[in-house]
Amino acid sequence: MKRSISPLTFLGKIEGLPVAAVLAVLYGVFIITAPMVFSGYRIYMSFLQTVPPVLVCALGLTLVITAGEIDLSFPAVVALSGFIFAWVFKHVNTPWAPWAGFVLALAGGALVGYINGLLVARIHVPSIMATLAAQFFWYGATVLLANGLQLNIKEVIDTTVHTIFVGRIGGIVPAQAFWALGLAVFLWFILNRHKFGEEIMFIGDNAEVARVMGINVEATRIKLFTVNGVIAAFAGLLLTLEINVFYPTQGGGFLLPAMASVFVGGTSIAGGLGSIVGTFFGAYIIGSLEAGIVATTISGYWVQMIVGIVMGASIVLNVAISEGRIGMISNRIRHWGVPAHSNTTGEVSPKDVAASK
């Protein structure tokens, strides 16, 4: 079973490289097709402002998917945490109200995640069902608590919380981009260099192996969902602080882009392995596509289809590289022009053998 080693194989060893390459190519294409927009810095600053909330959600989701689970409830947590912060900010009249709101919002996220964890780990509800129910429930609860109304908190601009988390560094660069980057670095170390991350990988790989090797699978799962709740709450805070308003359906559009970011980034739905670096670049790919395509002045009807093509291409690239099949694919492309009697499954029929002699 000897595999021919392609000179491109080493590319697969660098985490997230193919995704970063796709992002670079994408920006390259945009610079050529929409030079007016993409040669200035403003569009990039706008990405650094809009992508971080989805990116933060996607980072947490990467851990969950690596553990072989899924969490569909994070959009609801984005709404809930925004509500908690906005409510405390409006109704508590002390100088430290923003900080109290901030901490309580994170605590709210932790509570939602902890309940998800209990359902999944203790009662053994499959995570896709438990968190789907949770997403309806917590959106509902948020709408109820907020009476269906949005909360305008434009006074938040003058607080230190606002400056620290979503201020403009040097008057230009959105601070949330650095928070998202910092979180990505931190979670990379957690996943790849920490006991918790190793436990996540083994549970996603094979929970039975994890158990017989002495990992407390239940406790780790509960911890994981709780952490993801806190991360989603943080995303909700970044969003609410940035737009200075809470609205009950906020985060509703995050589910698919966040999941797309994770998969474009090369994390497999099968669990066991995950790429934080890939998710980081994946989120920027997903977050830049729409604005970029619109800027090229193609008709808006094309947007979804092109998004689909880019996603599909990066996922195929990821699968090919992670399985070390780059060489095989390039060989096949070379043979495509030849009408040989080789078949697509790669099986060798006696006729082929005879022909090769």
Partner: protein, 284 residues
């Protein structure tokens, strides 16, 4: 290094991490494991009855029995998956506290298990597989990757004997054959100073050539001075490597025969006769 890792790390601690027997007692204890009157009920169903078994310090026991004879139940009790209903057991002369006994405790006591297919995380690299569940850590639970890799490489060369195969600590489990995977699991068990290594059908899914490799690894357990319980359906394999055969049937130990007292043919005949004998009994 954190306290937990210290407890479990054989190079850095005394032989008995659980504050076990004094040196005198340990020397007097000739058994790696001693089970006394172990019984296990699942509801009203009796799975194990009156189990008394000693495994000597450098003895390889071949555990033989049909499906449902209670082999797996006994192994699960020893490895801390669930507790027995009654009875007690000792590991290296040290009584096991059954209320707190679990897989982690079993590891700390020196009971290691190699399963047919549950020993390694297949998508993970080898160094992670060596240390999963008892990582060498830096402060705050971060992994000491450099040290883990160093030790993993050393185990592979010195204990398992993967030489010149291009397999390193950074290789994925996927690159290994079935027999080599069991070799890794056995090497890991030996590194962690196991008192007793339990091999639960380690060759069930392997080709003949791979079975041969696994048997060679089991010989290394013997050479390394460890004790072992080897469970297999293949009488021939069991006969080759075991010092003693323990035969179970319907939750009871029905015979214990030393290898020197019996030939392979006689053992085979005995097992056949035994199952026929039972059938006759049922028939009458």
């Amino acid at each position: 290094m954190n306290k937990h890792a210290n407890d479990l790390h054989p190079e850095t601690n005394a032989p008995s991490p659980q504050g076990g027997p004094t040196v005198v007692e340990a020397a007097a204890e000739r058994h790696a494991v001693r089970m006394v009157n172990i019984e296990k009920y699942f509801g009203l169903v009796c799975a194990l009855k009156n189990i008394n078994l000693q495994v000597g310090r450098n003895e390889i026991i071949g555990l033989i029995g049909d499906n449902g004879a209670g082999k797996s139940t006994m192994v699960k009790i020893l490895t801390g998956v669930f507790p027995p209903t009654s009875g007690e057991f000792y590991i290296a002369g040290q009584k096991v506290d059954l209320r707190t006994y679990n897989v982690k405790r079993a590891h700390a006591h020196g009971v290691e298990t190699v399963y047919q297919d549950r020993s390694l995380g297949e998508k993970q690299v080898l160094w992670r597989n060596f240390f999963i569940g008892r990582e060498i850590t830096l402060p705050f639970g971060f992994l000491n990757v450099k040290k883990e890799k160093e030790i993993a490489n050393e185990i592979m060369v010195n204990t398992i004997g993967f030489r010149g195969k291009g397999i390193t600590a950074d290789s994925g489990v996927k690159l290994l054959s079935g027999g080599e995977r069991q070799g890794v699991a056995i090497g890991r068990a030996m590194y962690f100073e196991a008192e007793l290594i339990i091999l639960d059908e380690p060759t069930a899914a392997l080709s003949l050539k791979e079975v041969r490799k696994v048997l060679n690894f089991v010989h290394k357990i013997k050479d390394g001075g460890k004790a072992c319980i080897y469970i297999s359906h293949d009488i021939q394999d069991v006969y080759e490597i075991s010092d003693r055969f323990v035969i179970m049937d319907r939750g009871e130990i029905v015979a214990s025969i030393a290898k020197k007292e019996v030939t392979l043919k006689a053992l085979d005949d005995f097992l056949l006769e035994y199952s026929h004998g039972l059938k006759d009994k049922e028939g009458s």
